[in-house]
């Protein structure tokens, strides 16, 4: 069956909201990378004291759904406090757009990720918050939650495709994936895992076993 976008996705792709940069953002982040094909930058102006998102802009190096999900999520976040904005999920963003094809659901995850990272950037620099970003099993799992199995449009942890996660003494990350070796989405899932875990500077090697 053909992969098709909803009318709302098309509308947001044609005329995206909140495109651009902010001169002096109070928080900003870029998620994804040109090498994996999707890159999204989010810029925030946050009112100190109330922590309300007064202005938000984005730039996308990606496909139509990448642009549309960024457009909708910036609309959703605008005017909210950072705590409210952090609660926006990729499922909600996809629903707001009238749904996304399963193979495109990862765009919504990227949009949420970039928004949350920009808020975190603000929290670090303006609120003096500290975050545990160490290479731990918990943090690796947080990243795996962001990886979508394109065949059904749900993340690999929820789908229980990850059978084991571990970090050994040499800082190697070991992941056992329960997937068919001929699964056409396996290369994509592997690439996504590597790309997501590359943000842990300390990670030595990512070893993915297909079981």
């Amino acid at each position: 069956m053909a992969i098709k976008y909803s009318e709302k996705v098309i509308e947001h792709f044609k005329n995206p909201h909140n495109i651009g940069e902010l001169e002096q953002p109070s928080g900003a982040a870029t998620e994804g990378s040109p090498a994996c094909g999707d890159q999204l930058s989010v810029y925030l102006n946050i009112e100190e004291g109330t922590n309300v998102i007064k202005d938000i802009k984005f730039q996308s190096y990606g496909c139509a759904s990448n642009i549309a999900t960024a457009s909708i999520i910036t609309d959703m976040a605008k005017g909210k406090t950072i705590d409210q904005a952090k609660e926006i999920t990729w499922k909600q963003a996809a629903e707001e757009l009238g749904g996304l094809p399963p193979v495109k659901m990862h765009c919504s995850v990227l949009a949420v990720d970039a928004l949350r990272s920009a808020i975190k950037d603000y929290e670090k620099n303006h609120l003096g918050k500290e975050f545990d970003e160490s290479l731990s099993k918990v943090n690796v799992k947080k990243e795996l939650h962001k990886i979508i199995y394109g065949k059904v449009g749900v993340d690999i942890l929820t789908l229980k495709l990850v059978k084991y996660v571990g970090v050994d003494n040499d800082n190697n990350v070991i992941i056992d994936l329960e997937m068919d070796k001929d699964d056409k989405f396996l290369p994509d899932v592997k690439e996504e895992i590597e790309e997501h875990l590359s943000k842990f500077d300390k990670a030595n090697e990512v070893k993915i076993n297909v079981v």
């Binding site: 040109p34 090498a35 094909g37 730039q59 990606g62 496909c63 139509a64």
Partner: protein, 394 residues
């Protein structure tokens, strides 16, 4: 969809020439018979099919008896590749193809590997040309077939058939030489005798002929085992229904091009140049993928627009009723970057922003102008939206 569509995806399929449809019509409504013996209606159709074989054979300098009508490129590839390997199984189980062959060749070989055959996949350089030294050194005593794609469907690269033939001729034993020429037929001259080719598969819908038609050239004396069974009304390798309107249609489509082949190719090359020059003049930071103009297929242009993504370009052009193809992973069902781009040393970004424009005889200069206008507008807008848009990538 009443507006005029600018269809620059001829490598995928083309519009049927109305003249071809006219030629086919009587064979649906009046002369719907099969070829046959002893009756006037059966004889008439048999004669017309013989005439088609003659006409088609002439276009590639083959003999009429060497032309087998098929249902398309995939059908021909299956009949030839499986049939040649099976017929030569006693001599050897090894075939050679390339990493940049068309999927309709690669998938057949995958199936053959599952049955115990062994394959070597030779590499291509940055322009898509096959490594001929690697070809030479890959030949084994048990190699019975070399099967390649004549013009690369993604890059427009025309493989050096004469040089490849020479290598195979100089081998110590007979190696069958097969070409998937679906993209090459009607774009470059093919001479099966001079170029010493044993089998060729062609598809009708790539040159304004009917869908579901094709032909296979098999050189007289080439051993091909039957892989389909049924009543062999025309040829044992392709039993079953005889698609008479289709045979008439593909022949007419070829006729219409070969009555002025040089003129047709020149027209395509001029359109290709117009498109490339226009893009180069009006859009910066682009890369041509595949060989330079003049050395590549005259119907084929592949360009990477840096800092933007191909599916977004494809959709923006679609809003202007212009249709192209992209190598971007985003537009692929399984999110994989185009394997041809990846196997010819392109970066992911180059594949990501790559657009393929392929031409046929119905494309006009006005359509090329419209495409350049729409592209300029599209790339400007997408770069405005892109975090990479401001900086040059080269």
């Amino acid at each position: 969809m009443n507006k005029e569509q600018v269809y620059l995806d001829a490598c995928k399929t083309t519009r049927l020439d109305p003249k071809v449809l006219e030629e086919m019509k009587p064979y649906f409504l009046e002369k719907y018979w099969f070829p046959g013996n002893f009756t006037d209606i059966g004889n008439e159709i048999a004669d017309e099919i013989s005439e088609s074989q003659k006409k088609i054979a002439k276009t590639i300098n083959a003999e009429p008896g060497e032309i087998i009508f098929t249902s398309g490129g995939t059908d021909g590839n299956n009949i030839a590749l499986k049939g040649i390997m099976a017929a030569n199984r006693e001599k050897g189980k090894h075939f050679i193809t390339s990493k940049v062959s068309h999927p309709s060749v690669l998938t057949v070989f995958k199936a053959l590997e599952d049955e115990g055959y062994e394959g070597t996949y030779i590499s291509a350089d940055e322009e898509g040309y096959l490594d001929l030294e690697e070809l030479r050194s890959s030949i084994r005593k048990d190699t019975t077939l070399v099967a390649l794609t004549h013009i690369n469907h993604t890059l427009g690269t025309v493989q050096k058939i004469d040089a490849i033939s020479e290598i195979l001729q100089n081998a110590n034993h007979k190696i069958n030489f097969f070409l998937d020429s679906c993209e090459a037929y009607t774009k470059i001259p093919i001479d099966v005798k001079k170029q010493k080719i044993d089998a060729i598969s062609i598809s009708g819908h790539k040159f304004n002929g009917p869908k579901g038609t094709g032909f296979l050239f098999v050189k007289d004396g080439t051993k091909v085992k039957k892989t389909q069974n049924g009543i062999a009304r025309l040829h044992p390798l392709k039993p079953g229904v005889v698609n008479v309107p289709g045979i008439v249609g593909i022949t007419k489509a070829a006729d219409l091009i070969f009555e002025d082949f040089e003129g047709h190719v020149e027209r395509l090359a001029n359109l290709q140049k117009k498109l490339y020059d226009g893009i180069k003049q009006r859009i910066d930071d682009i890369r041509l993928n595949g060989p330079a103009l003049g050395e590549r297929s005259p119907a084929h242009l592949n360009i990477s627009f840096m800092a933007v993504e191909g599916e977004a370009i494809m959709m923006m052009l679609n809003f202007d009723d212009i249709h192209i193809e992209t190598g971007s992973a985003c537009s692929a069902k399984e999110l994989k970057a185009d394997y041809i781009m990846m196997n010819t040393g392109r970066t992911f970004e180059e594949s990501h922003g790559s657009v393929r424009f392929t031409l046929d005889k119905f494309v006009t200069e006005e359509q090329i102008d419209k495409t350049i206008d729409s592209l300029e507008k599209t790339i400007k807008e997408l770069r405005r939206r892109s975090p990479l848009g401001k900086k040059k990538t080269n």
